[in-house]
């Protein structure tokens, strides 16, 4: 992104040429990273931004080609959530983040693939089929923001927006060898993000480097009156020089290195920790005893909220409608039976059950209480450390067809990413090595709420001393 901005100004290539080239590559790509491509719109914006650059405008985002996950609303461009039920839906409004990017003269090059309604870790549940990992097209790019991650890794765009409810930015970032940030809850407006689990969802930036990620983050963060959970405060721009790691207390919880962690992932993450140590960070042990309940808590709260959030797709006002010849009930049943895929239906049923009379206290309320305990664990841990480090995912990317009939095993692999969503704290994934199969491995950094700039700064410093993020598929 920063590279592209420099090249534009050295007049090596114009935004129109660059965007035109990318559109060609996207069309020829076999990755299935995009649900739709914004060809004419992208070229039009590239033209405008190119002129602005000629006129000397400094903005780094001018003419920068960005991809947007297809659950983020774009005015006049289909926003499908990779679901049959919304396959023809065209919003009349832009998400807050899209407004921000457009105002800066960035180019929305296309909408990227995801697991249907962001429910999944592979993009396998997309109605247009899975995206492929650019490092090895027989492997998954991860998910749910797999289209965004693959597009960035393959160089089909300079950066992308994803959304992260339980790891959906970080896990695909890890699998595709890029950087992805899940910001502090409330930092980036959710206005225009199609809701999956409202108390966990957060839009996050994804790019090749932590620096680019920081630039994109600064562009989209900030208060928005249309989202009640958007925190009304001013944010300083993230320092692109990185931060001095001397004296930084890096917490490394044992629980992140327990059973189930692949040895190659452990090796790379331990190596990354040693890099931090060499750069002056102090490694401190921290305890997050209740993290182990994270997956269970998440798979009650997220489906519960989803069961309600997805009730609006009823075939009445927009989207696909099936049936209705017989009566209203039949229309609802047909529309939702045919419009939603299996994973979405599974989660709607789970969530409906968790909220039902007689089960609410045992499931939803209990899960909410445990969530509070997990927040408390982090609060205590951050008394003794500044950043918590660990693996992003216990394994590297698996085969496209692995575990397709075993959702539970996939759910359990969210173990490291889910806690940050439950606690609302910022977390990012940066490349820190390669597995025995040559697939990228991610290091996760977490910090207290509103310390997004600290983990981004630490990641920038780390990348200034390592080359993992520069390796291309």
């Amino acid at each position: 992104m920063l590279d592209t901005a420099r090249i534009y100004r050295k007049a090596d290539i114009t935004p129109v040429r660059h965007v035109g080239n990318l559109l060609d590559r996207i069309r020829k790509s076999s990755l299935n990273a995009f649900v739709s491509v914004n060809g004419p719109g992208a070229l039009e914006q590239a033209e405008l931004s190119g002129k602005a650059i000629e006129q000397g405008r400094e903005d780094l985002l001018l003419g920068i080609p960005l991809a947007v996950k297809d659950n983020i609303c774009t005015r006049g461009i289909n926003t499908t959530c990779s679901s049959e039920i919304l396959k023809d839906f065209v919003p009349t409004y832009d998400a807050h983040v899209v407004e921000r990017l457009k105002a800066r003269g960035a180019v929305i090059i296309g909408k990227t693939n995801l697991d249907e309604f962001a429910m999944g870790s592979t993009t396998n549940t997309s109605n247009i089929g899975p995206t492929k990992n650019p490092w090895d097209q027989t492997k998954t790019p991860g998910g749910s923001s797999g289209g965004s991650a693959a597009a960035v890794a393959a160089g089909l765009c300079s950066g992308a927006l994803g959304s992260d409810t339980g790891g959906s930015v970080r896990q695909p970032a890890s699998f595709c060898g890029i950087t992805g940030l899940k910001p502090t809850y409330g930092t980036v407006s959710r206005y225009g993000l199609v809701a999956f689990a409202s108390s966990l969802d957060q839009i996050g930036p994804m790019a090749r480097s932590a620096r680019d990620t920081a630039v994109l983050f600064d562009a989209v963060k900030g208060h928005d009156g249309r989202d009640s959970t958007s925190v009304p405060q001013e944010y300083d721009a993230t320092s692109l020089d990185g931060i001095d790691l001397k004296g930084l207390r890096l917490g490394v919880p044992d629980i992140f290195f327990s059973e189930g962690l692949a040895h190659d992932v452990e090796r790379s993450v331990r190596y990354a920790v040693s890099v931090f140590q060499e750069l002056g960070a102090a490694i401190v042990p921290v305890d997050l005893p209740r993290i182990r309940y994270g997956v269970a808590v998440y798979y009650l709260i997220a489906p519960a909220e989803a069961s309600s959030n997805l009730a609006r797709y009823d075939g009445v006002r927009y989207g696909v409608r099936h049936g209705g010849e017989k009566d209203l009930f039949e229309m609802y049943c047909e529309t939702r039976a045919k419009g939603f895929g299996r994973e979405v239906k599974r989660r709607i049923m789970l969530g409906t059950y968790a909220l039902s009379a007689g089960y609410y206290d045992a499931y939803y309320r209990k899960a909410s209480q445990v969530r509070t305990l997990i927040i408390e664990d982090f609060r205590k841990a951050f008394e003794v450390c500044d950043i918590i480090a660990g693996p992003t995912v216990p394994v590297t990317a698996w085969g496209l067809n692995d575990m397709v009939d075993d959702p539970l095993s996939i759910y359990l692999l969210d173990i490291y990413t889910i806690p940050a969503n439950l606690a609302g704290i910022p977390a990012l994934s940066i490349p820190c090595g390669f597995g025995d199969n040559g697939m990228p491995i991610g290091l996760q950094l977490m910090a207290p709420a509103f310390m997004d700039h600290i983990i981004l700064g630490a990641a920038i410093t780390f990348q200034d001393h390592t080359k993992f993020h520069e390796v291309r598929p």
Partner: protein
Amino acid sequence: MRDYETVIGLEVHAQLLTNAKIFCSCSAAFGLNPNTNTCPVCLGMPGVLPVLNGKIVDFGIRLGLALGCTIEKRNVFARKNYFYPDLPKGYQITQYENPLCTDGRLDIEVNGATKRIGIRRIHMEEDAGKSVHDESEPYSSIDFNRAGVPLLEIVTEPDLSSTQEAVSYLRELRRILMYLDICDGSMEEGSLRCDANLSVKEKGSGRLGTRTELKNMNSFKNVQKALEYEVERQTRLIESGSAVEQETLLWNALLGKTQSMRSKEESHDYRYFPDPDLIPVIVDDAWVERIADTLPELPAAKRRRFIEQYGLPAYDADQLTQTRALADYFEQCVSLYGTPKEVSNWIMTEVIRVLNEKNRDITELPVTPPMLVELLGLLKKGTVSGLMAKEVFTEMADTGRNAPAIIKSSGLEQVSDEDALAVLIKDVMAAHPKETAQYRAGKTQLLGFFVGEVMKASKGKANPKVAGNMIKEMLET
């Protein structure tokens, strides 16, 4: 037949008079073309979010304070999940576990005695859209103008023990809502809606009977009829040894009966949970005090004051305090004219008559208090007769002209001029020699006859008092 007791609890929905809807900036106005007051938020489009209009909390606190409620400090909105085409999001945003107001009361008058009705809770919520079913078409239409219009739901304890008490409660609550300027109180337009829970039990029994829920009673008359019907239906069932079924009933005003809408088994599981899109609303003491400072005098207090300060009968006090504007009108007249009872009589008869005839509100009446007082002054002075004053008032209400102008232009002024009257009286005496002789022979009760004839001859314009005295004088000399 044994004795039975009725137990009623009411749930009233009051649409609030805010400019904007509860979670978006669309207008909350009633009666516009279908689906013109809508936006992505109130249509439940993907990705959009609700933002609370703080005015609704103000209004809720206002009502809560008026009803002596405890005001909740930490207000949480919840989602009530159910599917219906006019519910755009598939859930209604409402309050569940922490309603804005709890534990209040409303005193009602029943047969001259005061009864205290407990208010269990008042909570804020959004209205749904409106389904329009046209029997001649194979489809239904939906108007989303109403979707997201703010409501307060006011729930009583089951303290009402008769239809009469229920209606009385509803009238008083409506009056309070209107005094507070938070609801226009129109049951016909649906801005005030009432559901009831009703059961019947044997007198003195500690065990409540099985209750039914009644909906669709969209006027005071229908509330009364529906509740009466249901009391009778349940009593009959119990008398005949059958069981009352717990169900939701719709009042069918055309057939004059309640009809089953859904049974207990078919009732929804609303799966309430806190709405994660909205943050808790913290109502601190300062907020409550700010609202408390703006509370107007409430109907009950005003009634008491009218009785004490103006010496009015309870009936007058009740009539005059129907609305704040009418009460203000009365007080302005009294401050200019005095004699409260006389003013009260005029307002209760003539003013209210004209308002009802024209279906107008007192604020729309062109006759201002100074104008009415001027007319009363002319009446007192004898410039116009009582009958004429009523005519003059009607014309004032029609045209907005003042009393002297109307009297002058229409010649309604009374004839009190003695010379003019003397001519008339002489003519009448000349025309009725027999009666004149009889009167002079001692049949003085004929005075009324002569006054009547003089009035007739003057086309009603003679001042009867002055004319009477003159007739007496002229006949006796």
